[in-house]
Structures are given as C-alpha cells and as structure tokens.
C-alpha cells in the first residue's frame, strides 16, 4: 500500500514522458515567448505597416492548419490512451492519423510559402514579413521535427516496443507534439488575426 502511494506521488510530481524532453520543451517555449514579445513590441512602432501586410496573409489556410494541429494533438492523446490499455496496434494507427494531420499542415504551409515566394516576398521585404516568415518557418521546422519523432514512436509501437507498463517513449513524443500545437495556438491569432 505504501509502495502504491509513493508511486502515485511520483506520478503527480513529474510530467508525462522523459524529463529531458520537458527541459527541451521549456527552452523552446522560452524562445518562442521572446519572439512573440518581439513581434508585438516591434509592431508598436509600425502599426499601419503590420496591419496592411497582415491582410495579404491567408486566414482560411491558417484556420485549416490550426484545426489540423488541434486534431493531430487529440489523435496523439488517443494514441497514449491506447498504449496505456496495451493496444499497441491501435496506438500506431492513432499516431499515423496524427502524422497525416501534421502532413496536411506542412502541405498547406508550404503552399503559403510558395505563394509568398512567387510574389517576391522574402525576409528582407519589410519588418512584418521578416517576422511572419521567421516565426512561421521556425515553427514549420518544429512540425517536421515532431513528425520525425512521431514516426519513430509509431514504428517502435508497431514493432511491439511499448506495452501498458512501459510507454514513456509514447508520452515523450506526445509531449513534444503538444508543444508544437501549443505554440501554433498563439502564433495563429498573433500573426494572422490580431490587428
């Protein structure tokens, strides 16, 4: 009974997954926090320019991307729930579904980048586009990293590498993916909607 109480206490003290990924997540969140604040305070000096060029962005594409990332995060939650019940194959399917949503995000965001590039928009075009391209491309790279992590976890799950008693890797990958989603949830309104 004492043993159960201690293990319960440990569960409550530490976040799911490997603690190292959480230190990494905090570092990543710190960088994005600085970038968000830099965007907002730089805008303070160029309000009209930011508002004008914000209208050139595709809000519908960003909306679909937001829905895709939220849904992918939910699928990852289902994957973790499945492996806790020892359903490794179901866990794999949920992870693949999450990756499909992630791929949808990457395709739509790539089309946006191609569209802007075809119009001659670069980091040097103006301050707004500098922030827009840097923030969204930086996040884009994190989505790719998250996809790689989810793929590795899915392969290991498909090979029977996780069980109901040992699934730290699934939670670790899930935590990183939720961080990617979390960042986009702030980035979407900040860059696309707030004016």
């Amino acid at each position: 009974m004492t043993t159960i109480a201690l293990s319960t206490d440990t569960e409550l003290r530490y976040p799911p997954g490997d603690l190292v990924i959480w230190i990494f997540i905090l570092a990543e969140l710190g960088v994005f926090a600085l970038l968000f604040a830099a965007y907002a305070f730089t805008r303070l000096q160029h309000v009209e320019m930011f508002n004008h060029f914000q209208h050139t962005l595709n809000q519908d594409a960003a909306l679909i991307n937001t829905l895709a990332l939220i849904t992918s995060s939910y699928f990852v939650v289902r994957a973790v729930a499945a492996i806790r019940e020892n359903y490794a194959r179901v866990c794999t399917y949920w992870l693949l579904a999450a990756m499909a949503m992630g791929m949808l995000f990457l395709v739509i965001k790539s089309l946006e980048f191609i569209h802007h590039y075809s119009l001659g928009v670069t980091l040097h075009s103006n301050t707004f586009y500098m922030f827009y391209l840097f923030l969204t491309f930086f996040h884009f790279m994190h989505v790719i990293m998250g996809m790689i992590i989810l793929a590795a976890v899915a392969i290991k799950a498909a090979c029977g590498g996780y069980t109901a008693t040992e699934y730290t890797g699934v939670e670790t990958g899930a935590s990183y993916w939720h961080m990617v989603d979390l960042v986009w949830l702030i980035l979407f309104p900040l860059v696309y909607v707030m004016r």
Binding site: E11, R13, P15, D60, I70, L185, V193, M194
Partner: protein, 93 residues
C-alpha cells in the same frame, strides 16, 4: 490506482471539440466589425484559453503538483500579458 490519475480520452474529446469551436470563433471574430483592440484582446484571450486546455488536458499537467504544474501556465501568462500590453499601447498611440 494508477489509471485513476490519468485524464480520460473521453474528457479530452470534449476538450478537443471545445478547442475546434474556439478556433472557428477566432476566425469569425476576424470577420466581425470589432475594433482593433477589442478584436485583438478577444482572440488573444481565446488563444490563452486554448493553450491552458492543451497544457492541462492534452499534456496532462492538470494532475501534477509542484514545479511542473506551472511552466505552461506561466508561458501563456507572461508572453500573453506582454502581447496584450503592446497591443494596448499601440491602440493608445
């Protein structure tokens, strides 16, 4: 005993649906006749609520005690506060 601590996925399904609706509300807010600052603070508030839902339910931080309970909350609060301050100052200038 251990499973009781986990946040069930059925509960997370409602959280997911709530976030989908809040996201659509954000997009619709962009199409309304709200003034600049009202729109900005409304959608920022919605984003912060969604962030809390991700942290508490999807990341599972709601069941934690101690240090690890708070980083995501602080991450949302501090940059959220700075962004809100910058937009309020921009509206006043």
């Amino acid at each position: 005993m251990e499973k009781r601590l986990f946040i069930g996925f059925r509960y997370c399904t409602w959280v997911w649906l709530s976030m989908m609706i809040l996201t659509l509300a954000t997009r619709l807010a962009g199409n309304t006749g709200l003034s600049g600052l009202s729109l900005s603070l409304t959608v920022l508030g919605i984003a912060l609520i969604k962030g809390h839902l991700i942290g508490d339910y999807f990341m599972g931080l709601r069941r934690l005690r101690g240090f690890w309970r708070w980083p995501v909350t602080l991450w949302l609060t501090i940059p959220g506060g700075l962004v809100a301050t910058a937009f309020i100052l921009a509206a006043q200038s």
